[in-house]
Symmetry: C2
Subunit: 367 residues, 2 copies
Amino acid sequence: MHNFFYFCYYIIITQLETRIFDMKKKITIHDLAKMLNMTASTISRALNDHPKISQETKELVRKKAEEVGYKRNLIASSLRTGKGTTLGMVVPRINRDFISNVIAGAERICREKGYSLIICQSEEDLEREREALRTLLHSRVSGIMISISAKTNTSEHLETLIKEGVPLVQFDRIRPELPTHCVVNDNYRAAYEATQHLIDQGCRYLVHLSGPRYINIYEERCRGFIDAVSRVQNIRYEIVESAITREKGYEVIKQMFEINRYPDAILAASDYSALGAMLVAKEKRLMIPHQIAIVGFANEPFTALINPSMTSIDQKAYEIGENAAKLLIDTVENPSKIKKPTKIVLIPQLMIRESSTIQNGLSDKKN
Amino acid sequence: MHNFFYFCYYIIITQLETRIFDMKKKITIHDLAKMLNMTASTISRALNDHPKISQETKELVRKKAEEVGYKRNLIASSLRTGKGTTLGMVVPRINRDFISNVIAGAERICREKGYSLIICQSEEDLEREREALRTLLHSRVSGIMISISAKTNTSEHLETLIKEGVPLVQFDRIRPELPTHCVVNDNYRAAYEATQHLIDQGCRYLVHLSGPRYINIYEERCRGFIDAVSRVQNIRYEIVESAITREKGYEVIKQMFEINRYPDAILAASDYSALGAMLVAKEKRLMIPHQIAIVGFANEPFTALINPSMTSIDQKAYEIGENAAKLLIDTVENPSKIKKPTKIVLIPQLMIRESSTIQNGLSDKKN
DNA sequence: CTGTTAGCGCTTTCAT
DNA sequence: ATGAAAGCGCTAACAG
């Protein structure tokens, strides 16, 4: 019945026959100057709190400016000074929990320090990523934060930026070979600890659902996994690359079951592939975690809400955003300072939940 | 053991002792003019594809520009023309699934049409919202999209904008009394249909967990609910205001149970309060949906993943973003055009899942 | 078709 | 402590 309306929408035009937006011409420092019988430079200086302007003049100017609703034209200002107050950020997609939290953190810092933030999506595409960088340069941002797309297997576009002198901060998915500031998680450590946790729970046949290993984060997670399992005797393990979607996770684990390989633990590089794996396990009526323990990666909101709740790794998204913004602003504001590239490494947090808690009594199926 | 490191981070300074960012001075049209023995205006015109410039000159200029890596200074350009290429958006929070999808949609349209998008968060606070608007004006954005904060119970700050002639588009949470373009969901209809759905399933004692009713979306959802239940005989219903968090949903329903009121259906204005309600129901060992059916609002990703999966209402976030951006760009590019405020109303989609499917055999507890 | 000139709104020497 | 004047890089009206 309401099917009829799916995927379509109304457009309602209300009656009000008014020109809704009249451009009102803006007041400039010259207007102010005229009003106060001063010159534009005095106004400018007063507004900028220049030391050689008398207190009373400053007061006067500020009051008048407030009164007539003067707003400094930042465009003109930054044309003159060559300094901007806008920063750029390139991310694969905005609508991912991790990313949107990074943005939220970065935006807060930017706001506090008086910068605006322009966001661009690469949509996991190298060409779009290049385009996004061009757009940002075009908008004359003072610096750029970037987390590269899944298809970015080259550094040249970023090298170009560096050569052009654009302050750059990489975060999360980075090209480690570039001499830029970075803010990342200790993915190696996170994977290592998660693996160790599974081993501690008694698991001895582990599968790692990895991502494309030319991306640093997946490579590091993979290494963490390998190093952790390698320290233990009598352990069996497998690594499946490029399994980070729910569909892929489902498929891969289903195939394993079909050829009668039953791992007792899965460490996924993504919560979604972990979810896929969990769904197969449920279909096969395996007990989670007792027959198969599952750990995801990213601590997506759903991991705490499903049944059984899923152990995952929290990536400190908000902090990553904050740190990236701080680092970038610092670089932007001290361009001449000779700097060594700084790398900030955050420690992700293993969130232990039902899907991997075999040892104590916490795990249960309360429906 | 690894507890030791939680909430702290390393800073690693790599050895590389280089000045990583050398500002390289930019090439201007004057430089190009000199190189090609032309004048700056010719260059400008050639680059802007002015009709009265010969094809070969254009080619020549474009080639040279490309060759020496010239990039037009948009700052200067927009100072001169008075037209900018940046739009602003104010949202309560970026890190919410609905919002980040709106942003994603808006960003795509902006990019396609050659605009950049600056995002500001109001963090559900009126004063921050005012500040965000100031920041955007300061950055000289050409127009603003806004979804108001939960605490915004006044319109004056937006009226000021309108008086100043700033193109404005409201979306989702709006102040309907303002003469601006709007992009919204048909919340009334969505709530009405969802309620009807519950009634169709045989439910006769319905509870609506609403939000603060001075915000349009909650008011509309509430009205939809009321109108739907009012058409039916022998029905009992209750409305609880300001219950949109998981905690509040949990608490409210728990209290109802404690005084022995057992509704057979819940329509929540938020997926989170619906989740809270679901958790109480589970604790009480009520069968969902047979003893109590539950419907949420927003179609958060987790709703499809929990057990039982939760019926919810998809809000077409991406489309809202796209439409808002299109509308804003249209307004910005045709400022003199006499316009009536346009309202685009999207039809949300009821996603029927296990938590409300009593009638046919779909609902089950496959673990 | 192309050059000349003026100026967007601001900051910043250099004078006074 | 304030004013005069010169531009930042670009565009556009007016000439030719």
